[in-house]
Amino acid sequence: MTAAPAFSATTRPVDTYEAAAAPLPAIEWVEVSAGPRGGIGLRAGTTVDPTDVYLAGHFPELTVYPGVFTLETIGQAVTAAVGYCAGRLPHLHLLRSARFLAPLLAGDTLTVEASVGPVGEDQSFDVTARCVRGDGVHAATVRAVYRWPSADGGNAR
């Protein structure tokens, strides 16, 4: 079945965090807009909080937002934007490419601007994200495929 991602204007970031295992609440806000060919555009943001339990270990001498947490921010933003399919959340399936260009330190803000979808027949969709630090520096670029997993939980190719 092919369907456009469902806009979920009522999905709050805290609901996304509480819906599944996650290292941290990785988005403070998310905005969704209509995109081309039935896809959507999203903007989302967060602030690096050095008191977060995971960030205390990355690293004790200097808080650095790990590149994988930028992926977590993008993933939670995508989840908040596209919502559920048959009760299941979208999962990261394929990380085509990721480049982490500048470090994010305590107090830095991260803004994600991404194009999402449209959805393919296998319930997968592309996400292309550009991430910008609060001072305007280009912090990361990510191209990935997300999909709602099959009913057995598998994510086979």
């Binding site: 200097l62 999962h91 399936h93 598998g154």
Partner: protein, 157 residues
Amino acid sequence: MRLGHGELRALLPHRYPMLLLDRVDSVEPGVSLEAVKAVTGCEPCYRGIAEGQAPDRYAYPASLLIESFGQGAAVLWLLSRGPGTTGLPMFTAARDCVLLRPVYPGDVIRHRVRLEQVVHGAAFATGSSWVGTDQVAEFGSMMAVVRPADAVAERKR
């Protein structure tokens, strides 16, 4: 060569709960490594899930699985750099990483990492992650650099 958790702490600057390797079972420095990460429901990534969520919501976050593999790659590289290496390993790029099936509390992840090349201070690793006989992830390419903490923090001064 086998490395216990204490030896991993001596090699990596990551600390609880972001030190995401438990043990290295075998390593040929500069060539390959096999590392173990046991997932438990006690990890902080499970602290925020709302009560009553479906079983699939307890899948181990992809961000932490990727970080765990990356730490295996960092150990392999740091061992080949010899004593006196200091700084923070930074995940700078990835390409063609596929997540094949979810991992749950109680699973023991086994990372098989190969160091492909080291060019101008950047290391490129590839490999796969397994739970028992099931492959859970494939990593086409992961790139990391080591940067002095002072250099990373410089922008904040």
